[in-house]
Amino acid sequence: MNEMLRAIWRYRHFILSSIRNDLRARFARSRLGAIWMILQPLAQVAIYALILSRVLAAKLPGIDNRYAYVIYLMAGMIAWALFSEVLTRSMTMFVESGNLMKKIVFPRVCLPVITAGSALVNNFLLLLASAGVFALVGHFPGPNMLWLPVLIAVNLVFALGVGLILGVVNVFVRDVAQVMNVVLQLLFWLTPIVYMPTIIPARLQSVLVLNPLYHLVADFQSVILYGRAPGVVGLAVIGSASVLLLGISLLLFRKAAPEMVDVL
């Protein structure tokens, strides 16, 4: 573990320039450039809000802001965007960097760090844009917003833990990425992001509770929308489980790394 951290520190310049290049490459030669990074999720929020606000707006108890649903939606989206970006990109990062890994020696652990870093930057920009929207609709979340970095960190560790395991397995069994694209869509709808958990029949509620993202997203929503502190016990459980998961995935990654290049 120490060795990995040292390698990351030694290659910090490469990691930083990779993150920068990654962001730049995604929007190179598009007129609006980095603005697309914010526009895309905002557009998605706008679409959901437009279609669903009439249906669902009334179901948010205890909030008198008439844009409550939009805020609710954005809180969930901020959490989901980071999770799904880290997961999908971790899943394919080894396969996509296959050529580089075959030809050049560098600490392999840089790859997940780059993935996480560039997803974090994206998420931060989305957060900034969201803050702008919140200010526009007159919603100013309270000091409990300070929980947000913690939530983001837990979310990131969780996504990276799952993503790294899937990414390693995907090198050897490429079906994983295909299957996961479908699973992710299902997961999106199994997580209360565009709807409220209250509209779910009680019978299904007990299933929903098994989804770790449900709790994480709910924490984002309570911090951003309700200005309440997250459930500390639940967060601690998810947080330590995520750290454990990341540890296991790094172990798997270390075992698998020598054989990865053989099949890339």
Binding site: H13, F14, F172
Partner: protein
């Protein structure tokens, strides 16, 4: 441990077929699984490399050269054996690997040097050198997608060699780029070597191997066949290329102490070979410019449809000086019968500089030895040229000038 910079012991690389990926996953956690198949691409390779040595690695495609280099650089992990490297390795294997077409040359240099693990300030201080060595002018600040492949290769080479490594691995990548830049690359490689960098060069070009290397490794089918003097190794390599079914390759020790390689299917063989002067008297030592005749007597052991005789005169380092064959001179023989004895006489002026030369002979069916190789004999004859009567000169070719001084 010896003071070797690179030490390879019984190195092997196998690609494993687990049958099921579940077995592979299980094997990471210490479960012993039965493999369905194991495919060894390299096995039992051992050698040491001392600081400052230049080593050529030759072998046919699939012999395991790239695998060996990847093991040395560390991109592949060995399946068995030991590999110890002391010092930094830089590989010019895949020039321009990791270049982003939308970034400028300068940005790509920063990124690529970062990928090699260099800190930012080292990159910044080396930047002027990299820029001037690449010589791509104002393109250096243009996106790489606007580059020609030659320009991209210039920038890539400049970064790869911006910092002197302890071991430099050069693949045939160097064959790209224009002649001017190639000279520049070789100059830099030579300079590195003088400063103590060890070179590992993979090439099919015997000229490059023999002029740059002081040792060569020949790989064949994943094993190290020979480790020794470049000229000897290249001879054996050429023989291996010609090896076909029921042909033989044997190595004899020539009286000069160098190894002589004879290969071929044996339908026609060289019986005797000698160099004679204008009067027909045998020569070991020839004067510069002296008219001589190379006499080669061959015996036909089995009927062959077409027979071409060729010879190559090589210098001490094994570099080709002159060679031709009876295919080029339109003197190929047809329907040669068993039992015939044929004598070839090649008369030429000895226009070589002072030194030791060897003659290789080839008895083949076409103009290369790759179709039917009846016999290929390296170091069939060794002779010496000495400057006894001419004005002193340097070099291995005698091209006497008429120098006029116009004041």
């Amino acid at each position: 441990m010896s003071d070797a910079l690179l030490s390879v012991r019984n190195l092997g690389k196998a690609y494993r077929d687990y049958g099921s990926e579940w077995k592979r996953f299980a094997s990471w956690f210490g479960v012993t699984v039965r493999l369905r198949a194991e495919h060894w691409v390299l096995r039992g390779v051992s050698f040491d490399v001392a600081p400052g040595e230049a080593i050529g690695i030759v072998g046919q495609n699939g012999a395991g050269k790239s695998t060996l280099l990847k093991l040395v650089t560390g991109t592949l992990r060995a399946s068995e054996g030991m590999l110890t490297v002391r010092g930094r390795i830089s590989a010019i294997l895949e020039l321009g690997m990791g270049f982003d077409p939308d970034l400028t040359g300068r940005e790509n240099v920063v990124h690529a040097a970062g990928l090699m693990g260099f800190p930012r300030d080292a990159i910044d201080s080396a930047m002027p050198d990299i820029e001037s060595f690449a010589e791509v002018g104002e393109y250096f600040d243009q996106p790489v997608r606007t580059y020609s492949s030659g320009m991209q290769m210039r920038v890539a080479f400049s970064v790869a060699t911006a910092f002197r490594p302890d071991i430099l691995i050069v693949d045939e990548a160097l064959s790209v780029g224009d002649a001017y830049f190639q000279h520049k690359c070789f100059k830099r490689i030579r300079e590195f070597r003088e400063q103590g960098t060890t070179l590992l060069i993979v090439s099919h070009d015997s000229g490059a191997v023999q002029s740059l290397c002081d040792r060569a490794l020949l790989l064949d089918a994943g094993t190290l066949v020979k480790d020794g003097d470049p000229a000897e190794v290249m001879d054996l390599y050429n023989a291996l290329i010609a090896e076909r079914e029921n042909s033989t390759v044997k190595s004899l020790r020539h009286e000069s102490g160098r190894e002589q390689t004879v290969s071929g299917t044996g339908e026609v063989t060289v019986e005797s070979i000698c160099l004679v002067d204008a009067d027909g008297a045998p020569l070991d030592l020839a004067d510069v410019g002296q008219p001589v005749t190379l006499r080669v007597r061959v015996t036909v052991h089995a009927d062959v449809p077409r027979l071409v005789f060729g010879y190559m005169i090589k210098d001490r380092l094994g570099q080709a000086m002159f060679g031709t064959n009876t295919h080029h001179t339109r003197q190929a023989l047809h329907d040669v019968r068993a039992g015939q004895v044929i004598e070839y006489r090649a008369t030429f002026p000895m226009n070589f500089g002072a030194g030791s030369y060897s003659v290789s002979t080839a008895l083949v069916s076409t103009d290369t030895h790759l179709v039917n190789n009846y016999e290929w004999r390296d170091l069939a004859l060794v002779f010496t040229v000495s400057n006894m009567t001419r004005t002193p000169f340097a070099g291995s070719a005698w091209v006497p000038p008429m120098i006029e001084i116009v004041a």
